[in-house]
Symmetry: C2
Subunit: 210 residues, 2 copies
């Protein structure tokens, strides 16, 4: 039914503190839903062995990246440890126009920029851990890290969580299957929102005149 | 996951021309989802055999009904062939506060009144038939009706369809299973919208202070 009427894709933004389960959920979502693809970022950092241009990143010079910023060719961008990372506007716009959804792996700051540029195309979801004890457990499980490292991660998680109120939907991930089901509900619902179905006007006109 | 956090219910409004399949979809939805109940209307018409007060209708005198209008106790109301029909506010508010969703069987005019009174609690879905030919076929299948009766139904359907743009979601029912799935997506998504999860503030506060 969705496919029978051309629709504009959505920009899906999932944010969460590390340890909330975002990586697992997004991986499973991308495996299950062929209409969703992961956004490819532009970066000024050097390509690592095996990384392909246009697949893993669009590799840019610092000057090239700064020109993209100046020309408003980026939906969001940030500088991290001296390297620039950002989302080129054009490939995203092409995907949305073709009725494909684009998933973004960005933090709350990127999400905020994306909302400013993307408007109603942006659907944002915040994923929360079920408890701080569970969050700490998940962060510890990642390896034999020293307590101070864990504490730093907890602090970073807290900073991310503090922006939960900026998001359209909020999921508490105490059950992966239920959380993934909710994500699928959100996407399924956003796809049938009136304003995303670009050919409904023509369809209804035909319905009323035939 | 949804159940683990108290949420405010939603007012679900499905509108469609007769022949679009709304009755089948709502019946299957009510069978599948225990959290949704059908709104009980107040009416001034006489009870028919088997109709129970508070189950099928709240039966009111004309004076009683007019007092409910005057006291703003109705979320929407209309006069049909000399009888009054309307939706009492209190039982709906009690259901929403308890985290139960309420489904309304009303037309576009009722939906418009409901939006004015219900605000963000209202989630409205318009169901369209796949084509005017299919709509006519479905209307004819209902019995050996004369052409002029069919034509009257088609005209009434057209009048209802002309208000499709007032709705949040639009479904084209060319496949009942897909249409029902979309309805379930819509409800599942609306339930995890941030502003409907009333205890998230307390939950996040605990998450950040524990």
């Amino acid at each position: 039914m969705i496919d029978s009427h051309k629709r504009r894709g959505v920009m899906l933004v999932f944010c969460a503190p590390s340890g909330a389960g975002k990586t697992t959920i997004t991986r499973q979502l991308l495996e299950k839903d062929d209409l969703i693809s992961l956004s490819v970022s532009a970066t000024t950092r050097a390509a690592r062995p095996g990384e392909e241009e246009g697949v893993h990143y669009f590799f840019k010079s610092v000057d090239g990246f700064k020109h993209m910023i100046a020309d408003d060719e980026l939906l969001e961008w940030a500088e991290v440890f001296g390297n620039y990372y950002g989302t080129p506007r054009q490939p995203v716009e092409e995907a949305l126009s073709a009725g494909r959804d684009v998933l973004f792996d960005i933090d709350w700051q990127g999400a905020r920029q994306l909302r400013e540029k993307g408007g109603d195309d942006v659907v944002s979801v915040f994923i929360l851990p079920p408890s701080s004890a569970e969050l700490e457990r998940r962060l510890r499980d990642r390896g034999q890290d020293a307590d101070d490292v864990i504490m730093k991660r907890m602090a970073k998680a807290g900073a991310e969580i503090s922006h939960w109120e900026e998001f359209d939907y909020v999921l508490v991930n105490d059950n992966l299957e239920q959380c993934l089901a909710s994500v699928e509900h959100i996407i399924g619902a956003e796809r049938v929102k009136r304003e995303r179905q670009m050919e409904l006007n023509a369809f209804v006109k035909k319905l009323l005149t035939d």
